[in-house]
């Protein structure tokens, strides 16, 4: 076991003027938080895997289903027009949320994974060959590793991996060494799901562009915690999922610069992505529809738009400040427990706290916490290379969202003490 015990990370600075979130009021928006789990009030600390949905999102989806549902982009009847307006309205909502230039740059997908695969197959597979390189980091989720390995198999290109240090920070000089004239694409997480590290995406984009490479950012863990402006970041592609942002599962987004998307061939063929079809020749539809074959997840898009309204209503700065306060409190509490090792102690972190307990396997820990109503994620977090690098099979991970409170932190700490009693 080589779990690293590092000094307490400096929590990201919370500005003194940061707006205060009324978490007690926020909690009333989330019906699931009222339920008991194993006879205990639920403490939900697994939002980094999937966040819960507020009433506002549930209601928007229900209103759509009860008032407006039909297929989009097809019928002349009232419901089809209402559904199309709702779906395209959601696209405009997403554009504003990430500050894209145009709705033509917003492609709805099933989630981050599908968005990355779309770029892998419609951009990388088309353009890369032997001698070309894709550069990722050692922090990536499997969704930002495996699609590139598939492209490597298909094209003969190379996949390079920029290393991290034991705190979970990208080794910048090593990253720069691996970035070169052969690098065609840099694909990096904005925030590490396993360790919480926030990567310096603006610097990465600048360096990659200077080297002539494009940049794809996996923003699944970033969008719930920080204001994302794709133009300010300069990303060529930015991907994220709805269900980590308090929206339903099965809806996500690929943002791509219009010039890039326009030059890419379609990925999947079918309805909605065509202008005309004959057996001799099919003319593809324009952006963004070219990449949305088949009936899309209309109600999911409606739910995503409602979730964006919701988080902007609370204020992303207020959410971020609230979560950073909880992260700092939990980090301080867990640091006091001599039998806990914090895993991932980067200077700049999102509200993700990964840890191990001396003598207790993460899965046993997860079961004992669950028995006390505390839901955390345990395992490799779909980031096996991170675990291998750190020399540990698994961690427990608590992640904080807008609806978590100081009381949740206290319940976690008490549950950890109880777990310690059971096993040692």
């Amino acid at each position: 076991m080589a779990a690293n015990i590092s000094p307490v990370p400096r929590a990201a600075a919370v500005p003194a003027h940061a707006p205060v979130l009324d978490a007690a009021r926020v909690r009333r928006d989330f019906p699931i938080l009222d339920r008991l789990v194993n006879g205990q009030p639920l403490v939900y600390l697994d939002s980094a895997a999937s966040a819960q949905e507020p009433r506002q999102v549930l209601r928007a989806v229900e209103d759509y289903a009860t008032q407006s549902h039909a297929n989009v982009h097809r019928g002349v009847h009232a419901l089809s027009q209402a559904a199309t307006a709702a779906f395209e309205g959601a696209r405009e909502r997403v554009r504003r949320f990430i500050n894209a230039r145009s709705v033509r740059e917003i492609i709805f997908t099933r989630g981050t994974t599908e968005a990355i695969n779309l770029v892998a197959q419609a951009w990388a597979r088309e353009r890369l060959g032997p001698g070309d390189e894709i550069l990722i980091t050692a922090l990536e989720h499997h969704a930002n590793i495996v699609p590139w390995q598939m492209v490597r198999e298909q094209t003969g290109c190379e996949l390079k991996v920029a290393p991290i240090d034991r705190r979970g920070e990208l080794l910048w000089d090593e990253f720069l060494k691996l970035l070169g004239p052969r690098t065609r694409l840099v694909a990096v997480a904005h925030v590490s799901n396993a360790l919480g590290t926030v990567l310096p995406v603006e610097r990465i984009v600048d360096a990659a562009h200077a080297a002539g490479a494009l940049v794809l950012i996996d923003g699944a863990q970033a969008v719930p915690h920080t204001r994302v402006d794709v133009q300010a970041i300069g990303a060529d592609f930015y991907t994220f999922s709805g269900h980590k942002l308090y929206a339903p599962t099965g809806i996500g987004v690929l943002y791509g610069r219009e010039a890039l998307l326009g030059a890419m061939p379609p990925w999947q063929g079918g309805g909605d992505m065509i202008l005309s079809v004959s057996f001799e020749k099919t003319t593809y539809n324009e952006l963004p529809y070219k990449f949305e074959a088949g009936t899309p997840n209309i109600s999911g898009a409606v739910g995503l738009a409602a979730a964006m309204d919701y988080v902007e209503g609370l204020g992303l700065d207020a959410i971020a400040a609230h979560e950073q306060r909880l992260l700092a409190a939990a980090t301080a509490e867990l640091t006091r427990l001599p039998y806990i090792q914090l895993i991932g102690t980067a200077a700049h972190k999102a509200s993700v706290l990964s840890f191990t307990m001396t003598g207790v396997h993460a899965h046993d820990l997860g079961t004992v916490l669950d028995a006390q109503g505390v839901a955390v994620r345990t395992g490799h977090h779909c980031a096996m290379p991170v675990m291998t690098f750190l020399g540990i099979p698994a961690t427990a991970r608590a992640s904080f969202a807008c609806y978590n409170t100081e009381d949740d932190v206290a319940r976690l700490v008490a549950a950890l003490a109880r777990a310690r009693e059971v096993f040692v």
Binding site: G39, V360, H361, G379, P393
Partner: protein, 147 residues
């Protein structure tokens, strides 16, 4: 959910102090088991006397259920022949997966694993060592048959 149903004293004891822990060199059979989902890894070593398991050890790392199950298994199968071990495996499998499997007297301390079936995510933790033992015995059979 009562944690004591899963983490019975016998299991906690075998997790803290696994029996027959370590390797056997030389061994007539050995196999490695890996559960990539949770990272559990263990190796089982057997020394055979004809059809009988004369000695058995295991090593590796895993959760309390996986470690205790392996430890209990080594105690239960030592001295038994292949047929008896196959019968025991079937009984353990039933215990882990069937809703109201009555604890068979032959199971002895292995009956402590009956709480695992209430935790479907953990059944593989308890059965990994048995599958690994089967592989080690198959390996052993191959070795024996060439002699």
């Amino acid at each position: 959910m009562d944690l004591k149903d899963l983490y019975r004293d016998v299991i906690l004891d075998h997790n803290r102090q696994p029996r027959n822990f370590g390797s056997l060199e030389p061994a007539d059979g050995r196999a490695d088991g890996h559960n990539p989902l949770c990272g559990d890894r263990l190796s089982v070593f057997v020394r055979l006397d004809g059809e009988r398991v004369a000695d058995i050890r295991f090593e590796g790392h895993g959760c309390a259920i996986s470690t205790a199950s392996a430890s209990l298994m080594t105690e239960a199968v030592k001295g038994k022949d292949r047929a008896a071990i196959a019968g025991l495996f079937n009984k353990v499998h039933a215990l882990l997966t069937q809703p109201h499997a009555a604890a068979d007297a032959e199971l002895g301390k292995l009956a402590a694993l009956s709480g695992v079936r209430e935790f479907p995510a953990r059944v593989k933790c308890a059965s990994l060592c048995w599958h690994t033992l089967n592989a080690a015995l198959a390996d052993g059979a191959a070795t024996v048959s060439t002699e």
